[in-house]
Structures are given as C-alpha cells and as structure tokens.
Amino acid sequence: MNSINDDLNKEFDRIKKILDSGGSLNPDDLKIILLAQLAEEDQHERQS
C-alpha cells in the first residue's frame, strides 16, 4: 500500500468520527474525500 493510501485511510477514520458525533465537514474534509474517491475509481478502472 502506498503512502497516500495510508494517509487517506487515517483521514477517513478522522472524518467518520466527525460525522458519527454529529459534526459538519469543512471544505478540506470534502477535498480529502474527493481524493479518496478519485483514487478508488482509478483502482476500479485498473482492475476492469
């Protein structure tokens, strides 16, 4: 697993905690999720 995936996983846990506790996402959180989504799409594309 590369470094960005490790970083994204950590951030994902942090963001999940915010949402579980009823908090709101800030613009940077949305950008992190966007990066995670793009990475996931790329991975899916490579596999298909």
Partner: protein, 566 residues
C-alpha cells in the same frame, strides 16, 4: 456613473458561464457533447466549460473543443494518486492548484451529469451560483434539487424502465428543449466500408469472437465489393487477432482490415466518418458514428440498456435479446450468458445486407425477410424522433413486450408531469400475459394514489397545527409518524407492483430532497412531493385503464367476427 447603474450595466454585459461535470468514460463524454450542441447553437453568448478526467477527455480533446470554450482536466498523475512516492499533503496541494485555476471562472450554473459519488464531492468543492445534479453538503448528505436529475437518479441504472436516451435526459437537466438532430444526406463511397467494433467495456456486453467471425464471413461472401475495418483499443488487439486470423476468413484477407490499437481516437473518427455502416456493441465507436450520421447497427447484451445508450440519431438499429434477465446489473452473477445466444447472427447478416443495398429496415421487412424461428428470441428496434425526443420503436411483430409498454407509459407520464409536455402514442397491443400484468399494476397504482392523498392530508394537518394558536407538539409528532408509515407502505406496494419502481423511487428521492430550512417550508415541500406522486400515479392509471379498455374492445370485435364465421 453611479454604483447601481454601473451594476446593471455590468450585469447586462456579463458573460454567463455554465460548467458541466462529466467524469465518466469516452462514450458518456460524446453523449454530453451531443446534449450541449443545442445549447451552443441557441445561446452562443454563454461560456461553456467542461470538467472531466484526463484519461477520458484528453483523447477526445479535438472533438470536445468544438463544443466547450474551456476544458479543465482532473489528472490522476498530477494529483499523485498512482505514485508510490506521493503523500496526502502533496496531493492536496495539487488538487488545490486545480481549484485555484477554476476559481478564475465565475460559474453561474454548475451541472453535474455524472451522478457518481466522486462527481458529487467534486461539485461540493466548486463555487457556483446554482448547482444542478448531485452534490454533497457539509453533513455528507447527497442532494439533488432539480426534478430531471431526480428522474435520472430514480430510473437510470435502476432497471429497464427508463424510456429516455441519456442525451435527452442531459438536455432536460441542462434546461434546453430537445431539438431532433437534422438528418444528413450521406454520400456513399463506391467501395462500401463497414466499421466493426466487436468489443465492449466488459465481457458480458460482447459476443465471443467466433460469432463475429460468422458475421464477417457471411458479409464478405455475400457482398463482394464490401470491405470491413475492425477498430478497437490497444487492449483489444489480441481479441481482434483471434478474429482476423481465423482460417475461415483467410480468403477475405484483402477486404478485412484490422486497425485495432493502431489509431488515436482522432484518427479513428476520421476513419469512421467515411464509413457506410457501423456494426458493434454498445461502445463509444457507435456514438462517434452517430456524430457523422453514419448508420449504426448495435448488438445490445448483458447490462446494456438500449433505450439509454443507443447512438443518438434517427434510423439507428439495435438488436436486444428477449432473455428474461436482460438487461441485468453489472453485479449480477452470470455463468451462461443466455442473452449472448438469443440474438441469431443470421438476422444481423440480413440487416447488414439490406443496409448495404440501401433498403429500409421496417416492420414489414423484419417480418418478410427473417425466419420466425430466429425472430422469436430477439427484439429489433429502430430509432426516430418524436416531439424531438429520441424514441426506439420495436419492429418485431405481435404484442408489445411488458417493458416496452411501461417505458411508453413512463415517457408520457414524465413528459406530462415533469416536462409539461403532452406526448401521444398509439395504443400498444396487449396479449393475455401483458393484460394480466397491467390489471395487477392498476391495483398498485390505486394504492399509490391513495397513499399520496394520505401524505398530502397529513402534511396539511401538520401545517394547520403549526398555524393554530396553541400548536401541539405531540399532534405534529403523531402526523409525522403517519407520514413515515406512508413511506413504508410505498415500499410494500413496490414488492407487489415492481413496474411502479420508478414512481416509488422518484417519490423517495423527492422526499429526500425537500426544500426549506424550517418545519413549515419542509412540510409544504412534503405536501407538493406527495401531490406530484399522486399526479404521476393518476396519469399512469388513466393510461393503463385506456389501454386495457382498447384491448377489450378489440377482443370483443374478434369474438363477434369469430362467432359470425361459425
């Protein structure tokens, strides 16, 4: 000049910018280009920008630049998504640069036509005066505010009941009334060339090579002046070799050209533009052909929904199997691919021959020129534009298929309720099975209508309670609970009347996107959502009832004639 006058002056001279998000593949990008072409010709004063992924949009740049004033490319490599050395900090910095560039645009309307999670987050990150299509809010809720996007979200990829071409749905979402593309006069070359793209994005959407060998063999044997050019991507080279190197085709090697993996999309488009015919599966080459008015014959298999993605032009032919599970979902397990066996290659060959001879494919031709045995497992559709909307007409003889029936009913209903347009179609032919299924669905529609009436009633009670002098919280809670029960009962209707899925899904999407920031506005919005569901149910009920009545009249006449003949 005082400030106010200056403001009005600036507003008059302001160039309005519309940004389209389309992150999906090349075929979707071509359909997006087709959907904005009317906007471009009707409103040349608008600045039109596209936000797309590099790997799909860059090869198509030569074409997209004809439709868009500026294209912003989201590039995975620049973002460091595929590099083992990158880290989140550097990727975020690269993403920030992308958004900085976009910040120079003053976007009036941001339209997301992708409907993926990724595009919803992207839409959330871009500043715009208005957002159309899906986007995410700070609470991570996916929102859709406009009705046509709600229709798309509730019907596309949810089953076989969406009646609209994606191009028409995109046009509706953008807000331009569809205009049928002009039919162009095609001057054929003396040596007819067929473009063949026997591949698709997944195995379940394409035939095995042997079946294409049969078609190529018969076509080249029967048409001694015709040539076939196989086209495809680099990763399809091996499959194309299995076709051209088949011993059966050795005698035709001078008339069989294999360009698979040898052309860029720009070069491919130049080859396609001079062809007499395109044959293949659902893929971007078919969409490219329609841009040049090259006639198309598409073989739809697996999870392809022909009504959504058949090349957008008149007289396009599409063959789809009558297999019960067609169209499936990409996640469905399938070991045997029965749908691949249900389209006989003989019919494809007959169509190619007729097309090369300049004949017209119509229901008479289908009946006269093909064996009833071969026709029994396949639907042959031909496209035309009705009320400027793309329509696929089933040329096969006999009673309409149940999905065709419901697609027609839905087209009339959505157009009337959401599009404010009256659409007319002749009464479809029923048989005993479809008659029974319509009768069963009538009950479901009645339940759905009644539930929507209850929904309106309880929404009204809440509004009355709130506006009373001493509003009772417990009463409001009680009425809200009733509304929740209605939502659950709608799900039960879905189980007994599966053909009503688009209405029930649409109702859920509408209710999940209520307008307002206080109880009164939200309840009012809930009232209108129930009212709309009641309206769609009522239009559908009337359509089904009239179709059944017409069937009974015909049955009655036939019975009388039979009695007189006795």
């Amino acid at each position: 000049m005082n400030a106010k006058v200056k403001e009005i002056h600036e507003s008059k001279n302001k160039i309005h910018t519309i940004a389209i998000i389309q992150l999906t593949r090349i075929g979707d990008l071509i359909q997006t280009a087709q959907s904005v072409s009317d906007l471009k010709s009707l409103h040349p004063e608008y600045r039109l920008i596209l936000i797309a992924r590099s790997q799909f949009a860059k090869p198509l740049r030569f074409l997209l630049e004809q439709y868009f004033d500026k294209i912003y490319y989201l590039n995975s490599s620049t973002l460091g998504l595929n590099s083992p050395d990158s880290n989140l900090k550097s990727s975020l910095a690269s993403l920030e640069l992308f958004f900085q560039e976009l910040k120079n645009e003053s976007i009036d309307a941001l339209i997301n036509l992708s409907f993926s999670k990724t595009s919803a987050y992207l839409s959330a990150c871009i500043k715009a005066n208005h957002k159309i299509g899906t986007y995410v809010d700070a609470n991570n809720r996916q929102l859709i505010n406009d009705k046509w996007s709600q229709v798309l979200f509730s019907t596309v990829m949810r089953g076989p009941l969406n009646p609209y071409s994606l191009v028409d749905l995109f046009k509706n979402i953008i807000g331009i009334k569809p205009i049928a593309p002009k039919e162009q006069l095609i001057i054929h070359s003396k040596i007819p060339n067929i473009i063949l793209h026997p591949f698709a994005s997944s195995e379940r959407k394409m035939w095995k090579q042997e079946k294409w060998v049969e078609i190529i063999y018969k076509t080249l044997k029967d048409n001694d002046k015709c040539t076939i050019t196989i086209v495809g991507d680099k990763n399809e080279v091996l499959k194309s070799q299995l076709i051209v190197e088949n011993p059966l085709l050795k005698q035709f090697s001078s008339r069989l050209v294999n360009l698979t993996g040898k052309t860029s999309i720009e070069e491919l488009s130049s080859v396609v533009s001079t062809a007499q015919l395109f044959i293949g599966h659902d893929s971007m080459v078919g969409h490219l052909s329609s841009l040049f008015s090259v006639p198309t014959v598409t073989i739809a298999l697996g999870n392809v929904r022909p009504h959504e993605t058949t090349p957008y032009q008149a007289n396009a032919i599409v063959l789809s199997p009558r297999t019960k599970c067609f169209p499936c979902f990409p996640s469905d397990q399938c070991a045997y691919t029965q749908c691949h066996h249900d389209i006989p290659y003989q019919i494809v060959n007959n169509i190619i021959k007729e097309k090369l001879n300049g004949g017209t494919i119509g229901s008479d031709w289908v009946k006269k020129s093909n064996s009833g045995f071969h026709l029994s497992s396949v639907n042959i559709y031909k496209s035309h534009f009705q009320n400027s909307y793309y329509n696929l007409e089933n040329l096969s003889e006999g009673a309409s298929e149940i999905h065709d029936l419901f697609r027609t009913f839905y087209k009339i209903s959505w157009s009337f309720v959401v599009g404010d347009l009256e659409d007319n179609y002749p009464f479809p032919k029923l048989n005993q099975t479809t008659h029974r299924e319509l009768l069963e669905t009538l009950n479901g529609l009645q339940h759905l209508f009644e539930l929507s009436e209850f929904g309106q009633k309880y929404s009204k009670y809440i509004l009355e309670e709130i506006s009373s002098q001493t509003p009772s919280i417990s009463k409001i809670k009680e009425f809200s609970k009733k509304i929740d029960e209605i939502d659950n009962l709608q799900t039960i209707v879905l189980k007994t009347s599966p053909f009503l899925a688009p209405i029930i899904d649409y109702s859920k999407v509408r209710k999940g996107n209520l307008f307002g920031d206080n109880v009164v506005k939200l309840t009012e919005s809930s009232y209108y959502a129930f009212e709309e569901t009641a309206q769609i149910s009522s239009v559908m009920y009337e359509l089904l009832q009239n179709t059944i009545a017409e069937y009974k009249i015909i049955q009655g006449k036939n019975k009388t004639t039979n009695d007189l003949n006795k």
